[in-house]
């Protein structure tokens, strides 16, 4: 334990300090701009196609997901997420990106044990924790 603490301390001064403020600002701006794009899409679907608010929200999310998947397919989302950091990964587009990039990475191992097995390597955490927390809250809500 002692050695581990000392090691952590000794190694700390050699680790480069990440530029916290710049990184968060990049994430802030790019994540915010993606949300503005989503809002503009939603407005366009409501005004241009005359659908209801709820349907327009679903269309907007589907558009963002398919855009992220197609950009990942041609290899452009990686460059974007290297710049934006959490601004690209903490959104729904980052979730879609994690699914398709994991699936593409393991496609050489076969269609079942490669693609299907590894697809939820990163995105599975969001699904598991979301469902578990929501289910527990639903049970509490039902009992009360």
């Amino acid at each position: 334990m002692r050695l581990r603490d000392n090691y952590q301390k000794a190694v700390k001064q050699f680790q480069p300090k990440p530029p916290y403020v710049v990184n968060s600002l990049k994430a802030f701006v790019s994540g915010g701009l993606l949300c503005v794009l989503g809002e503009a899409l939603k407005k366009w679907y409501i005004n241009g196609f005359g659908v209801s608010q709820e349907v327009a929200e679903h269309w907007m999310m589907l558009t963002v997901i398919s855009l992220a998947i197609l950009l990942t397919g041609i290899g452009m989302y990686d460059t974007f997420s290297q710049f934006a950091g959490a601004g690209a990964t903490a959104l729904l587009s980052g979730f879609a990106n994690s699914l398709v990039s994991a699936a593409m990475e393991h496609r050489s191992e076969g269609w079942v044990s490669g693609v299907a097995n590894h697809m939820f390597k990163i995105g599975g955490a969001a699904i598991v924790y979301g469902i578990v927390v929501a289910y527990v809250l639903g049970v509490v809500y039902y009992i009360m």
Binding site: S24, S66, D78, A90, Y129
Partner: protein
């Protein structure tokens, strides 16, 4: 004005997530799981609903919106169907996005090769 609120709310979530990845030991996966859980809890308290009304896509597009949609499905479906609404309604809204993302990811992996 709505665009500005969407920009600020969505950007705020992403900025906090980036700060947590940089400052703490949490990886990107931890932060996403935490965001989804936080969205589900805030949705159960009824606060996230108001945020979506104000910020629109700025509240729906971050992963916390995913957790909110899970809870919203339980609430709206469970009101009519009792305890069975918990399991059935959980995918009521989010199932559309989830199944679409899985199918499109599969066919994209069928066509595209990884680069780099």
């Amino acid at each position: 004005m709505e665009y500005w609120i969407a920009f600020l709310v969505g950007g705020f979530v992403c900025g906090i997530a980036q700060l947590m990845i940089d400052r703490t030991n949490f990886s990107q996966i931890h932060v996403i799981a935490g965001l989804v859980s936080a969205g589900a809890i805030l949705g159960a308290l009824g606060w996230y609903d108001r945020l979506v009304d104000i910020a629109g896509a700025g509240a729906l597009l971050p992963m916390s919106g995913f957790g909110f949609l899970l809870v919203k499905g339980i609430w709206s479906y469970g009101a009519e169907h009792g305890w069975m609404g918990i399991g059935t309604g959980i995918f009521q809204f989010v199932g559309l996005e989830l199944s679409f993302a899985i199918v499109l990811s599969f066919f994209t992996a069928l066509i595209c090769k990884p680069r780099g």
